[in-house]
C-alpha cells in the first residue's frame, strides 16, 4: 500500500514536469526523423522495408542511445530529490521501509522510462504510416516487430540504465549525478565498442555493449541476408539473450548495492580527501567555534576593512580570472572532471598503443599517426570522442548553475561588475578544462610513443594541431552549450536542448541540413600527412571557423543580454533587462558580430556557391536522371574504341592548376562505319575538343556534359581518327567541402582519365538506387548485371597504348605509367616523358612530388629481357623498400613461371600522400599511401606475419589480372585470384609457416567479418567473398587436388582471355577451367566450394589411446560430421556428407605424427589410426581447409592412456 502510494506520487510528480514532456517530444521527433531518413536511406539502398523488424530494431537502438543521453535526470530526481531539496529529514522519519521507499521510487522511474521508450516505437509507427512515405517501401504491418524490439531491447535497456542511474544518483544525492550512469553505459556501448570493433573484437563488443549498438546493429547488419532483414523477427536467443542476461544481472547487482548502501540517515558531507583520511585512521578535530568574544575593533582591522575596492578594467579582468579559475577548479575536481582529465587521458595511452597498427601489423607511431587517433571533427558522430562534447554540455550546465545551486546566487548577483565578466569567466573556465584535457592528451600521445620506443616527438605539430585546430572545434560548441544553458535557465531542459543541438550537428543531414554554412561549427576537414603537410586544407577550414566564431560572438552577446541576475526569471523581464544592457561596447560588438557573420557568410557563399557549383544530393540525382532520360537512347549507338592516348600534362602544384592536352586515337572495331561520336567531358573541368577531320555538333549540352559530333567523313571499319582535347583544371575559391587536394605541393596525385573526356554515353552517370530511379520513373536496373546475362559480357579491347609528357615544378618529380623515356628541364620546369611498352588499362595515375627513387632490375629469363623496377618514395620513408623489392622479385619469378609472362618491361611503385596503409595496382604501376611506409613488421624469421610483403605479392598478382566482365562475381575474378596468387607466392618464397600465418590473419573477422548466408562464391560481390572465401576455396582445392592442377587451370584461363576481342572472363569460365583439372573424386568438393554456400560442422568428440607395442600406439577417434547448405534467403538445409577430411594426430611439442585425408560421412563414426610416437591430441581438418562454423571443437586431447 505504502509502496503503491510512493510509486503513484513519484510517477504523478514527474509526469507533471515540463522536461518530462519535452523528453517525450524529443524522442518522438527523433525516432520519427530517424525512420524517415535513416531507415529510409538504408531501405532504399538494401531494398528492405522501412517497417521490417530489422529497420525497427535499428531505429529502436538509436532512440535508446538518445534516450540514455537526455533522460537520466528522471532517475536522478526520483533517487535524490529528497536530499537535494533537503526534504529528506521529513521523509526519512516516516514509518516506511527502505524497500517501500526505494522500490516505489525505482518502479516509478522504470515505468516512466519504459513509457519514454514506448514513445520511440510510436515515433517509428508515425514515421512509417504518416503521409509522405513511399508506399513501395512499407511492408505488411506486424505488431510483433515493434513488440519484440520494445521487449528485447528497450525494456532491458530501461532496466539496466535506471538501475545504474538510480544507484549513482541516490549515492551522490544530486540528480545530475545520474548522468554519470548514462555516460558509463554510453561509453561502454558506443565508445568502448568502437575501439573493440576496430580491434576485431566484435565478440567482446557484443558482450560488453549494454545498449545494443553492437549486438544488434553491427552483428545483424552483416549476418542477416536482405530477406531475413525484411522478415525475420528478433528473437531472444544467442548473443541477444547472453547480453541481455549479463547486463540485467549487472543491473540487479547495482540495485543491491544501491539498496544496501542506502540508509535513512542524516547525510554528512564527506569528500574523497575526508574518506582517505578516515581510511588512514587520521581523525580531524571537530570545528570549534570561538568562545563568545568581544569583537576586535582595533584600528588596523577597521582601516583594512574599510579599504575601498577599485572599479576599473583591471578589476573586471581580475574578476573574470577568479570566476574562470573557480569554474575550472570545481569542474576539474568533479567526477566528470576526473573522467575527462584523468580517466580519458590515461585510457588514451593503451588505446593509442593499440591503434598503432593496421591489420595486426605494427605501425611506426609517428606524431601524425597519433594525432589521427586523438583529433576529430565535432560533427563526426562515429568518433569515440563524442564523449567530449557531451561532457562539455554537462560542465556548461554545472558552471552556469554553480552559484545558484550552492545558494550563493543572491550574494554574487548583488556584487558589482558587468555580466560580461561572469559569462566570460565561466567560458574561460570551460576553456581551461579543454586546454588541460588537450594538454594531457598530448602527454598521453607522447607517452604512448615513448612506450613503443619511438622518440621523434613532433611537439610543434602536436601543439599546432591540438591547440590550433582541435581546440577551436570544441570551443565553438562549448560556447553554444553555455549559451543554451544561460538562455534556457532550467538545468534539465538546458541539458536536453544542448544534447539536441549536438545531435543536430552530428546528424545534420537527417534534419535536412547539408551545407556547412548551416551546420553549427561545421566546415571542411583539415588533413595532415608527412608528405604534403597541411597542404591546402587549412585555409577553407579557417574561413568557416571564422564565420562560426562570428556567430559565437553573437550567441555570446545573446547570452549576456539574457543572463539572469537576481530573482527575475520571467522572460519578458529578462528581455527588458537585456534591452537595457544593449548599449555602449555591447552595442558596438553586436554590430561588429552581425557585420562579420554577414560578410564572412557572404564571402564563403560566394566561394562555395557562386565560384563553385554547390550541389545537394537531390540536385545530383536530378542531373543524373535527366542525363539518362535525355541521352540514354544513345547508349546502344556504335562508338569507336579508344586505341591509344598521348597526353601532355602540365602540373602547377603551387597554384593548384593543371592543363592536359591530349590526343586520343579512336578505332572503329565495329561492323558498320560510324559517323556520329558522342563525348562526355569530365565534370568540374573545362574541356575543348576537336577531331582530326571536319565535324559538326549535333548535341551540345554544357550543363549535363554531353556532346554528339557528326563527322564529315564516316569512320570506316578498322579506320582510326584522332580526337584532340585541351582540359584545364583549376580551382576557383574553395568548395563547400574544402579544396580538392589532387594538385598540391609535394603530393599531387590524380587519375588523368577522370579529367579527360570519355567516348560515348556513360552508364556510370545514371541513377543507381531503386527508389531514386522510381522517383524519376526510370525502370529499375541492377547494380551489376547477372552472371548469366550473356548480353552484358563484352569483349576484351586489348588495352590502351599510353604515352605522356608530364611537366611539373622544378624541384618535383612527375610520375606516370610507363618507362621514363626522357627527362629534361626547360624554363624552370621539369619534363618527364613516359611511354608504356604494352597496352595498359583505363586508369592513368599521375603523381608529382619531391621523390627519392630506388631503382633495380629483375631479369625475365623467359622473355630474355630485364624489367626496370623503380620505386618513388618520400625520402624519409625507406623502412619497407627492401621488403617490397624482395616481394616483387619473388612474385615476378613465381607468377611468370606458373601463370604466364609479365606484359611490361617496366614496373613503377609510387608513394602518395595519405595516412592509410592501402596499396593499389594498375597496369605496370602500384601506388601506396604513406601509411604503408610506416608499417614495421617484426624482423624476418620471427613468428609474426610480414603483411606488407604479402600485400605487395597480392598487388603484383593484379599484373596478371584477367580481362574480366563486369557482372556478378567480378570482384572474385579480380581479388580472389590475386589473393590466391599472393598466398602461393608467399608459400613459395617464405615457406609453409608464413603461409599459415597469412591464412590465420585472413581468417580473423576484421576487416571482413564472415557472412554465412548470401550469394554463393560464383556470384560473389561482397568483400568477404572476394577477399576471403574466394582465396580460401582456391587454396583448399590446391591442397586437395594439388597446386599444379589449380595453377594450370588459372594459366589456361589467362592464356585464353588475354587475346584481343575474346569475350571477357567470368566466374563461370574460372569454374569450367577448374572443373577440367579436378579429378572426379573432388568434383563434389568443387561444387560445394563455388556453387553453393557449404559449411561443414566437424567435431572430434573423443580420443582414446592404447599402447600396442614398444613404439606403437593405437588411436581410436570418435568424430562427428555434418554438411549444411545455406541459400541466399537464409534457408539452411542439411545434406548428406561423403567427403575427404584431413585427420591430424599430434605428439609432444605439437609434432605432427599423422596427417592424412579420410573419407568422412554424416553423423558419428570411429576411426582407428596407428602411430609410432606417443599421441597427445587429435584434430579433424587441422588446416581449416573446409569451412567450419565452429572450429574450436575440432580438437581433442587424448583420454588417459590404456595399457594392453
Amino acid at each position: 500500500m505504502k509502496l503503491r502510494e510512493i510509486f503513484r506520487f513519484e510517477f504523478m510528480y514527474q509526469i507533471r514536469q515540463v522536461w518530462t514532456w519535452l523528453f517525450f517530444a524529443a524522442l518522438l521527433v527523433f525516432s520519427f526523423l530517424m525512420t524517415r531518413d535513416g531507415s529510409l536511406a538504408e531501405a532504399l539502398h538494401d531494398d528492405f522495408f522501412v517497417n521490417s523488424p530489422f529497420a525497427i530494431a535499428k531505429t529502436t537502438i538509436a532512440g535508446n542511445l538518445i534516450w540514455l543521453l537526455i533522460t537520466a535526470v528522471i532517475a536522478g530526481e526520483a533517487a535524490s530529490r529528497d536530499v537535494a531539496t533537503r526534504m529528506h529529514p521529513l521523509v526519512y522519519t516516516a514509518p516506511i521501509s527502505r524497500l517501500q521507499y526505494l522500490g516505489g521510487r525505482f518502479l516509478a522511474t522504470l515505468a516512466l522510462n519504459a513509457l519514454m521508450l514506448l514513445v520511440v516505437q510510436i515515433g517509428i509507427i508515425l514515421g512509417v504510416y504518416l503521409p509522405g512515405m513511399d508506399p513501395e517501401v512499407i511492408g505488411p504491418f506486424r505488431p510483433a516487430a515493434f513488440l519484440t524490439a520494445f521487449a528485447f531491447l528497450s525494456l532491458p535497456n530501461a532496466f539496466i540504465a535506471t538501475a545504474l542511474q538510480f544507484t549513482i544518483a541516490s549515492g551522490a544525492g544530486r540528480p545530475m549525478a545520474a548522468y554519470l550512469g548514462s555516460m558509463i553505459l554510453f561509453f561502454m556501448s558506443y565508445i568502448l565498442g568502437l575501439i573493440l570493433l576496430f580491434n576485431g573484437r566484435q565478440d567482446l563488443a557484443n558482450i560488453l555493449d549494454p545498449v545494443g549498438v553492437h549486438f544488434i546493429l553491427s552483428e545483424l547488419s552483416h549476418l542477416w541476408t536482405t530477406t531475413e532483414k525484411n522478415y525475420r523477427l528478433l528473437t531472444l536467443d544467442g548473443i541477444v539473450l547472453t547480453n541481455r542476461m549479463l547486463w540485467s544481472g549487472v543491473a540487479i547487482v547495482f540495485m543491491f548495492i544501491g539498496y544496501f548502501r542506502f540508509q535513512f540517515r542524516h547525510r554528512v558531507l564527506a569528500d574523497l580527501g575526508d574518506q582517505l583520511l578516515k581510511m588512514m585512521r587520521i581523525r580531524k578535530g571537530p570545528i570549534h567555534d570561538a568562545e563568545l568574544a568581544i569583537i576586535p575593533t582595533d584600528a588596523a582591522t577597521r582601516i583594512a576593512a574599510e579599504a575601498e575596492p577599485a572599479f576599473s578594467l583591471s578589476s573586471e579582468l581580475r574578476k573574470t580570472g577568479a570566476i574562470a579559475w573557480s569554474s575550472f577548479a570545481s569542474s576539474a575536481t568533479s567526477w566528470a572532471g576526473i573522467a575527462m582529465l584523468v580517466v580519458i587521458p590515461l585510457m588514451c595511452i593503451p588505446v593509442i598503443i593499440d591503434q598503432m597498427e593496421s591489420n595486426g601489423v605494427p605501425l611506426l607511431p609517428t606524431t601524425v599517426q597519433v594525432l589521427t587517433e586523438i583529433t576529430t571533427a565535432l560533427s563526426s558522430e562515429t568518433s569515440r570522442w563524442v564523449i567530449i562534447p557531451l561532457l562539455m554540455i554537462f560542465f556548461a550546465g554545472e558552471v552556469v548553475w554553480k552559484e545558484r545551486e550552492a545558494g550563493l546566487g543572491e550574494i554574487t548577483d548583488a556584487m558589482p561588475g558587468s555580466e560580461w565578466s561572469v559569462l566570460l569567466g565561466k567560458f574561460f573556465g570551460l576553456t581551461f578544462i579543454l586546454i588541460a584535457y588537450l594538454s594531457l592528451t598530448i602527454c598521453a600521445g607522447i607517452a604512448a610513443q615513448a612506450i613503443l620506443g619511438y622518440d621523434y616527438f613532433e611537439i610543434g605539430l602536436y601543439l599546432t594541431t591540438m591547440f590550433g585546430l582541435q581546440l577551436p572545434e570544441y570551443l565553438l560548441f562549448t560556447l553554444l552549450a553555455l549559451a543554451i544553458h544561460v538562455v534556457v535557465n532550467q538545468k534539465y531542459i538546458g541539458h536536453l536542448l544542448a544534447v539536441i543541438a549536438y545531435v543536430m550537428i552530428a546528424l545534420a543531414p537527417m534534419f535536412g541540413l547539408e551545407h556547412n554554412l548551416l551546420i553549427f561549427g561545421a566546415g571542411p576537414a583539415w588533413s595532415y600527412t608527412d608528405m604534403r603537410g597541411f597542404g591546402n586544407s587549412v585555409m577553407p577550414w579557417l574561413w568557416f571557423k571564422l564565420y562560426w566564431t562570428a556567430w559565437c560572438l553573437l550567441i555570446a552577446i545573446a547570452a549576456y543580454l539574457l543572463w539572469v541576475r537576481g530573482k527575475e526569471t520571467n522572460f519578458s523581464v529578462r528581455l527588458r533587462a537585456g534591452r537595457n544592457r544593449l548599449k555602449g561596447v555591447t552595442r558596438v560588438m553586436c554590430v561588429i558580430a552581425v557585420t562579420l557573420v554577414l560578410s564572412l557568410g557572404a564571402f564563403i557563399f560566394y566561394n562555395t556557391n557562386i565560384l563553385n557549383d554547390y550541389q545537394t544530393d537531390g540536385d545530383i540525382k536530378a542531373m543524373r536522371a535527366r542525363y539518362e532520360i535525355l541521352y540514354g537512347k544513345y547508349a546502344a549507338m556504335d562508338q569507336p574504341r579508344l586505341y591509344g592516348t598521348k597526353l601532355n600534362i602540365d602540373i602547377h602544384p603551387s597554384i593548384a592548376q593543371a592543363r592536359i592536352k591530349g590526343v586520343y586515337t579512336l578505332l572503329n572495331k565495329g561492323r558498320e562505319p560510324i559517323d556520329t561520336i558522342a563525348i562526355s567531358p569530365a565534370h568540374g573541368v573545362q574541356t575543348k575538343v576537336s577531331f582530326s577531320q571536319m565535324s559538326t555538333a549535333l548535341v551540345s549540352d554544357d550543363e549535363l556534359g554531353f556532346y554528339i559530333y557528326k563527322l564529315e567523313q564516316p569512320l570506316h571499319v578498322n579506320d582510326s581518327i584522332h580526337l584532340m582535347f585541351d582540359v584545364s583544371v583549376e580551382q576557383r575559391g574553395f568548395r563547400e567541402n574544402g579544396l580538392d587536394n589532387s594538385i598540391v605541393e609535394n603530393g599531387s596525385q590524380f587519375n588523368a582519365a577522370n579529367w579527360c573526356p570519355s567516348i560515348g554515353y556513360q552508364r556510370s552517370g545514371e541513377l543507381m538506387e531503386v527508389a531514386d530511379r522510381r522517383e524519376y520513373n526510370l525502370t529499375p536496373r541492377p547494380i551489376i548485371p547477372s552472371l548469366y546475362d550473356s548480353q552484358a559480357i563484352g569483349k576484351y579491347s586489348g588495352g590502351i597504348r599510353f604515352e605522356a609528357i608530364v611537366s611539373t615544378e622544378q624541384e618535383e618529380t612527375a610520375v606516370a605509367p610507363g618507362l621514363l623515356h626522357k627527362q629534361w628541364s626547360d624554363n624552370g620546369r621539369s619534363y618527364f616523358h613516359y611511354i608504356a611498352d604494352a597496352p595498359i588499362g583505363g586508369e592513368w595515375s599521375i603523381f608529382s612530388a619531391q621523390y627519392a627513387t630506388r631503382n633495380s632490375h629483375w631479369y625475365d629469363s623467359a622473355q630474355n629481357r630485364s624489367v626496370a623496377i623503380q620505386i618513388f618514395h618520400h625520402p624519409p620513408h625507406t623502412a619497407n623498400l627492401e621488403r617490397m623489392t624482395t616481394s616483387i622479385n619473388a612474385s615476378l619469378a613465381y607468377y611468370t613461371k606458373e601463370f604466364g609472362p609479365y606484359k611490361h618491361g617496366h614496373l613503377t611503385l609510387v608513394e602518395h600522400p595519405g595516412n592509410g596503409t592501402g596499396m593499389h595496382a594498375d597496369a605496370s604501376m602500384i601506388s601506396f599511401s604513406e601509411g604503408f611506409s610506416l608499417w614495421v613488421p617484426s624482423k624476418e624469421g620471427s613468428r609474426s606475419l610480414d603483411l606488407p610483403y604479402a600485400i605487395t605479392s597480392h598487388e603484383m598478382a593484379h599484373q596478371w589480372t584477367l580481362p574480366y566482365a563486369s557482372v556478378e562475381g567480378a570482384p572474385v575474378m579480380s581479388e580472389s585470384l590475386a589473393w590466391y596468387y599472393g598466398l602461393k607466392a608467399v608459400q613459395h618464397s617464405r615457406g609453409e609457416s608464413e603461409l599459415h600465418r597469412l591464412l590465420g590473419f585472413m581468417r580473423q573477422p576484421y576487416p571482413y567479418p564472415p557472412i554465412r548466408r548470401g550469394e554463393p562464391l560464383l556470384r560473389g560481390l561482397d568483400p568477404y567473398l572476394s577477399y576471403r572465401r574466394g582465396p580460401f576455396a582456391l587454396y583448399t582445392l590446391s591442397e586437395y587436388a594439388g597446386d599444379e592442377k589449380v595453377n594450370e587451370a588459372l594459366k589456361n584461363l589467362l592464356a585464353k582471355h588475354r587475346i584481343e576481342n575474346t569475350p571477357l572472363a567470368t566466374t563461370l569460365d574460372l569454374y569450367n577451367e577448374l572443373k577440367t583439372v579436378t579429378p572426379d573424386t573432388l568434383q563434389s568438393l568443387l561444387h560445394d566450394l563455388f556453387q553453393v554456400n557449404t559449411y561443414w560442422e566437424l567435431r572430434t568428440k573423443r580420443m582414446s589411446v592404447s599402447k600396442t607395442g614398444s613404439r606403437r600406439w593405437r588411436v581410436m577417434l570418435d568424430i562427428e560430421a555434418e554438411k549444411v547448405v545455406d541459400d541466399s534467403t537464409g534457408v539452411e538445409t542439411t545434406i548428406p556428407m561423403r567427403d575427404f577430411v584431413e585427420i591430424g594426430i599430434y605428439g609432444e611439442d605439437g609434432n605432427v605424427l599423422y596427417l592424412k585425408k579420410h573419407l568422412v560421412n554424416s553423423g558419428e563414426q570411429q576411426l582407428t589410426i596407428h602411430v609410432n610416437e606417443k599421441p597427445l591430441r587429435a584434430r579433424i581438418d587441422p588446416r581449416h581447409l573446409l569451412i567450419d562454423i565452429n572450429p574450436d571443437d575440432n580438437i581433442v586431447d587424448a583420454a588417459s592412456l590404456q595399457q594392453e
Partner: protein, 315 residues
C-alpha cells in the same frame, strides 16, 4: 547617505501583490523593517539589493523609484544613484546578506572570502589580503579560516555571510532576517557586529523579531501584506502608546469574552495563566491595569490596525 523609496509596487506572476505603493525614507543608521512572515520584507530587500524589479509605474501615477542620496564628506562624492537603473553603481557600495544562502561546502572560508573580494573589485592582492584578514578577525572566524565551510555551524555560516556583506565597507547594507535561527549568544554577537556599522552607512535590517529592532534601530517601519503600516522611531512610538496599553491576567476560558469586548492586541501565557494586553485610549475597566508599553505592543497594535502613520487612518 539617505535612501528614499517612493511608490513601489510588486505583483508576482501568480497574482500575489507583495508590495503595495511602498514609500519610505531611510536615513543613515540602523533601520528596522518589522513584519510577519510573507509581509513583503524580502521582496523589498531584494529590490534594494538590485535583484528584483518593481512593477512599472502605471501611466498618470506619480513616478515610482528608489533613490540613494550619497552625501559623503567631500562634495565630489555627493551624488544621487537611481537604484533601479544604475544597478552597478549601487552594487559598488552595497552589502547584502540574504535571508537564505548557502556556501560551497568544500571551500575554505578564507579562499571563498578572497574569491568574493575579487568579485567585489579588490584586484590588488595585498590590500585584498588585508581586507580578508580583517573581516575574518572581525567576524571571529580567524581561527577557523582554513576549515571547510561545509563543517560550519549555522552561526558561523551566518557570520561568514556578514563578512561577505561587509566587503568594501558598504554604504548601503541590506540584511534580511539575519537572526532567524541563531542561538541567543550568537544573536547578541551578531547584533553587536551590525551596530558598529550603523554609524556611517544605511543599514536596513528586516526581521520578524521585535527585540532585534528595539535593541538596535533608531528608526523603523512595520510592514504587512505589502503595505507600510507604520514608519516611526521606536522610542517615539512607545512614548505615544503610553497609557493606551492595558493588561489583565485571566483564565483561558474567558478569553473569547474579552476578545469580543476589547481590542486585544496580544495574549501571552505566563506561568500557566493568560496575560491579555488590549489597546484602549481610555481605561477599559473590568479590572484592566495600565501597562508600560514596549515595542512589541507597538508592533501588535499596528498589525491590529490601531495605530498607523498613514494620514486618515489614525484611530
Amino acid at each position: 547617505m539617505t535612501l528614499t523609496i517612493s511608490n513601489i509596487s510588486k505583483t508576482y506572476p501568480n497574482g500575489v501583490q507583495a508590495l503595495k505603493n511602498v514609500t519610505l525614507t531611510i536615513p543613515n543608521g540602523m533601520y528596522g523593517l518589522l513584519g510577519p512572515n510573507g509581509a513583503g520584507k524580502s521582496t523589498l530587500m531584494r529590490m534594494l539589493a538590485t535583484l528584483q524589479e518593481p512593477d512599472p509605474s502605471p501611466a498618470g501615477q506619480p513616478g515610482s523609484g528608489i533613490l540613494l542620496f550619497a552625501s559623503g564628506g567631500s562634495s565630489a562624492s555627493a551624488r544621487t544613484i537611481d537604484v533601479l537603473k544604475e544597478k552597478d553603481e549601487v552594487r559598488k557600495t552595497l552589502g547584502y546578506l540574504p535571508q537564505e544562502f548557502g556556501v560551497y561546502p568544500k571551500a575554505k572560508a578564507e579562499d571563498l572570502l578572497d574569491h568574493f573580494a575579487i568579485l567585489k573589485g579588490f584586484s590588488n592582492r595585498k590590500s585584498r589580503q588585508e581586507v580578508v584578514d580583517a573581516l575574518l578577525k572581525k567576524t571571529n572566524l580567524w581561527h577557523v579560516r582554513r576549515q571547510r565551510l561545509g563543517g560550519y555551524s549555522g552561526g558561523m555560516r551566518q557570520r561568514f555571510g556578514v563578512a561577505v556583506a561587509l566587503l568594501g565597507s558598504p554604504k548601503l547594507l541590506i540584511v534580511d532576517e539575519p537572526t532567524a535561527g541563531l542561538d541567543p549568544a550568537e544573536r547578541v554577537r551578531f547584533l553587536n557586529l551590525l551596530s558598529e556599522l550603523g554609524e556611517s552607512s544605511v543599514v536596513l535590517l528586516s526581521t520578524h523579531i521585535v527585540e532585534d529592532v528595539s535593541e538596535l534601530c533608531s528608526r523603523m517601519a512595520i510592514i504587512n501584506k505589502g503595505e507600510i503600516l507604520l514608519e516611526t522611531q521606536p522610542l517615539t512610538a512607545i512614548r505615544d502608546l503610553r497609557g493606551k496599553i492595558w493588561r489583565l491576567i485571566i483564565d483561558r476560558s474567558s478569553l473569547s469574552r474579552i476578545e469580543s469586548n476589547h481590542r486585544v492586541i496580544s495574549t501571552k501565557l505566563f506561568a500557566g495563566q493568560t496575560v491579555v494586553r488590549v489597546f484602549s485610549p481610555e481605561n477599559p475597566g473590568n479590572g484592566f491595569e495600565v501597562a508600560e508599553p514596549d515595542l512589541e505592543d507597538v508592533y501588535f497594535a499596528t498589525m491590529a490596525g490601531h495605530i498607523s502613520s498613514r494620514p486618515g487612518q489614525m484611530i
